[in-house]
């Protein structure tokens, strides 16, 4: 019997000591980290959305931690301990079958896009393998007052009636849009790293004619920032997002309006006689002047477009004007 007590009891005591040392004590210590500057608790609706996120198992494919590594810069600034104060249960995740969502509210701020994507991801990202969350929506004849129907592209819209989000979907989207990293002290809200992570900060975007390097960089920025809605082909999605190919604003010799739209967003766009109800988000807060110029020059020189190139200074001048 003594041997049994020694082996079973002794090893269990050793294990309890190690469990306290490696699990419980760090847990106590790290549970008391104060919130970082600008880190706030979620609203009631956002917190409900977080519960939907957990119930649907979103974090089995999406992480919420940005590592201090080059390849993670596309997702935001590196996560800091103070970011997690209000995050219980923790949703750091272990797989990135889909992209990191730490900063998705800033990276993809379009509510319209988020709803379409949740309803069926392939409507906006053809190669996506994310499940369609159609069961979080209802098809009704008329949207109830105060609820906007989802602006689905024609190919995914129901034959009759409109698609409206349930409370779960509304809460989930509210939560996703609330996922915005608070900037580190001393930094502006604008991205500290280029949003695509593919290229370093542009050094001379003032040359009036885009070099091939800048075109490549503009293309990468376009892919990361704009292609989700306007698509890599520049053709947009009929019924949801306007085409940039052959777009009169983009081919206009005067780039003022083009710059204003990218910086400040747009509501109720009328493109080629069709009015798009979906608002375009403002990118002035997340992109630098040079990045905006790169994107605009890429759009003005792709898909057969022939708009005149713009400079970083022109963007800065428009930004100074405000909207």
């Amino acid at each position: 019997m003594n041997k049994l007590v020694l082996i079973a009891g002794g090893s269990t005591l050793v294990y309890v000591a190690l469990a306290v040392l490696m699990g419980v004590l760090p847990g106590f210590e790290l549970s008391n980290i104060p919130p970082g500057p600008g880190v706030k608790p979620l609203t009631v609706l956002e917190a409900q959305g977080r519960d939907v996120y957990v119930a649907s198992g979103c974090s089995y494919c999406h992480t919420q931690q940005v590592r201090p590594l080059q390849q993670d810069k596309v997702f935001g600034r590196p996560s800091a301990p103070g970011d997690f104060t209000y995050q219980t249960p923790e949703l750091l995740g272990s797989q990135r079958t889909g992209p990191d969502l730490t900063n998705i509210g800033a990276r993809q701020p379009s509510v319209v896009w988020q709803y379409i994507h949740l309803y069926n991801p392939r409507a906006v990202v053809p190669q996506s393998i994310m499940p369609a969350f159609e069961w979080m929506f209802q098809i009704v004849d008329h949207a109830p007052p105060g609820v906007a129907p989802v602006a689905l592209p024609t190919a995914y819209a129901p034959a009759r009636g409109v698609v409206v989000p349930t409370r779960d979907a509304q809460a989930l989207i509210a939560y996703l849009l609330a996922l915005k990293q608070a900037p580190f002290p001393g930094e502006s809200g604008r991205s500290t790293a280029p949003i695509n992570g593919a290229a370093g900060a542009p050094t001379s975007a003032s040359a009036p004619v885009a070099s091939s390097d800048e075109t490549a960089q503009g293309g990468a920025l376009f892919t990361a920032t704009c292609a989700a809605c306007h698509q890599a082909t520049g053709e947009g999605l009929p019924g949801a997002f306007p085409a940039l190919k052959g777009n009169s604003t983009i081919n206009d010799a005067d780039p003022t309006r083009h710059i204003q739209v990218v910086l400040n967003g747009l509501q109720g766009a009328n493109v080629g006689g069709i009015v798009y109800p979906s608002p375009m988000p403002a990118f002035g807060t997340t992109l630098s002047d040079a990045e905006v110029a790169s994107i605009i020059n890429y759009e003005r020189s792709s898909w057969g477009n022939q708009g005149t190139p713009v400079t970083r200074e022109q963007v800065a001048a428009e930004r100074a004007k405000g909207n």
Partner: protein, 471 residues
């Protein structure tokens, strides 16, 4: 259903044998069901990677199936099968009867109750925070904890009745494993130190310990008993086994934070985890060498004994999978592999190539001794080769694909490119997974043959019959 015999007796009656055999059979049958269920869910998920719109509706969505797959593999299949084996090993190696058959039945009922309730809860969206391997709502995890406590009590009671002087090494690992896992389960449930980043550190501790302090010791316990049994020779070095026991106990609990390298967890915690991940090579290589040296010189006979071949694959899976784990813990390699499907390949190399093959080896070596009924040679052949080829395809495709996924990110390609590049590897993963499912159907048939099948009196091969007599 038999309950425990109240009268203490020094000699084992045939009634005790029958009770032990019944318990062992019942645990194995329940486990085989969970294996089939968990694998079917896995194959469905693998299919969804190519056809994401297949199986719409909340209850078939990937995010609900994924924890059902992992938890029913862990707590339905592997846990129940290993506890069944542990009971048999404890009673036989101690030359004692089971302390209480009643407790064994209660334990089995609790394990299954927890797994059924947990599966239903997850499918309805009751997920305790997406925290890996502890997703069941906490009251259900209390039921699992109760099953562990019952098991620990019963195993200790059985070994305490031993008519041998020593406690055989297998029982060190199985009793230790059950008791440590009770501690893990309690640490995981108590909330006071699990807020924000505090919970992250507990998650790191938990997700690794739930694997390495539960499945690893119980599977090693199977090796230490079944290998000498099959070969009719003692383990190469008993002292090395004891050494592996204590080093595993001290090193393993420290390495959990390596799941959160480059995270906001304190850097020293991450570095400590890396250092001890390297230290884990000591018990892993020591243990593996011990098993391989026990088999030395008997390899030529291995092809005639499928139980031995299952165990051999299990030992190699333990050696390769654990060594791979050490390498994955290096920051340089973690930069490439973290968050990719490489880790899914790793978890299958260890939970399948090591633990599951070890369980099969143990069941095929020992269940026929308990029941006197053997599976057919065809059943063994089919099971072994489809499982081996299937898991090889599975692990290889995800390891290669996962590496490409990680390199895509480092090259700064648009994220969706890493999804597109994985498609052909996911297809091959599905092929491997389907073969694995097929092999589990054959396994279920073999289990049926070993439990309900006819008893062909002279069909057991001589060497194992002799070994049984010697034990």
């Amino acid at each position: 259903m038999q309950t425990s015999v109240a009268v203490q007796s020094s000699t084992l009656s045939s009634h005790d044998d029958r009770t032990l055999s019944l318990v062992f059979c019942a645990y194995t049958i329940a486990a085989a069901f969970w294996l089939l269920f968990a694998t079917a869910v896995g194959v469905l998920m693998a299919y969804k990677f190519g056809a994401p719109d297949f199986g719409p509706g909340a209850w078939l969505t990937f995010g609900r199936l994924r924890p059902i797959h992992t938890n029913s593999t862990f707590y339905g299949w592997a846990s129940v099968a290993l506890v069944g084996l542990a009971y048999y090993v404890a009673a036989r190696s101690s030359r004692a009867r089971l302390y209480s058959a009643k407790l064994a039945w209660i334990g089995l009922a609790l394990f299954n109750l927890a797994a059924v309730a947990g599966t239903i809860a997850l499918d309805l969206g009751f997920n305790d925070g997406n925290l890996e391997y502890r997703e069941w709502p906490w009251p259900i995890r209390l039921v699992f904890l109760a099953a562990l406590l019952v098991t620990a009590w019963n195993l200790i009671g059985t070994v305490a009745r031993r008519s041998t002087e020593d406690i055989y090494l297998s029982n060190w690992f199985t009793i230790g494993g059950v008791l440590w896992t009770c501690v893990i389960a309690i640490v995981a449930i108590l909330p006071w130190y699990q807020y924000g980043l505090g919970q992250v550190s507990v998650s790191g501790f938990y997700m690794h310990n739930a694997v390495g302090m539960w499945f690893t010791p119980l599977a090693l316990g199977v090796f230490y008993y079944a290998l000498p049994k099959l070969l009719s020779r003692p383990i190469y070095s008993y002292a090395l086994g004891v050494f592996a026991f204590w080093t595993n106990l001290v090193f393993y609990p420290i390495i959990g934070a390596h799941h959160f390298l480059f995270s906001p967890l304190p850097w020293f915690l991450q570095t400590t985890a890396i250092v001890f991940s390297v230290a884990m090579l000591v018990p892993v290589w020591g243990g593996s060498a011990n098993f391989l040296l026990t088999m030395r010189g008997r390899m030529h006979g291995m092809s005639r004994s499928y139980p031995l071949m299952f165990i051999f694959v299990g030992v190699v899976g333990y050696l390769v999978g654990s060594t791979q784990g050490t390498f994955e813990a290096f920051r340089s390699l973690q930069e490439v592999w973290h968050f990719t499907n490489f880790t899914v390949g790793h978890s299958h190399l260890t939970m399948y190539g090591f633990v599951t093959f070890a369980i099969w080896g143990g069941i095929y070596a020992l269940l026929p001794l308990a029941t006197g009924k053997a599976p057919s040679q065809l059943g063994l052949t089919l099971h072994f080769w489809t499982a081996l080829v299937g898991s090889f395809i599975y692990i290889t495709s995800l390891s290669v694909g996962g590496t490409i996924q990680g390199l895509d990110w480092i090259r700064g390609l648009p994220f969706i490119q890493s999804v597109a590049d994985m498609q052909s590897y996911w297809l091959w993963r599905g092929v491997g997974g389907s073969l694995m499912l097929l092999s589990h159907v054959v396994f279920a048939w073999n289990v049926w043959r070993m439990s309900y099948g006819v008893k062909p009196n002279a069909s057991l091969d001589d060497s194992s019959a002799t070994a049984e007599a010697e034990a």
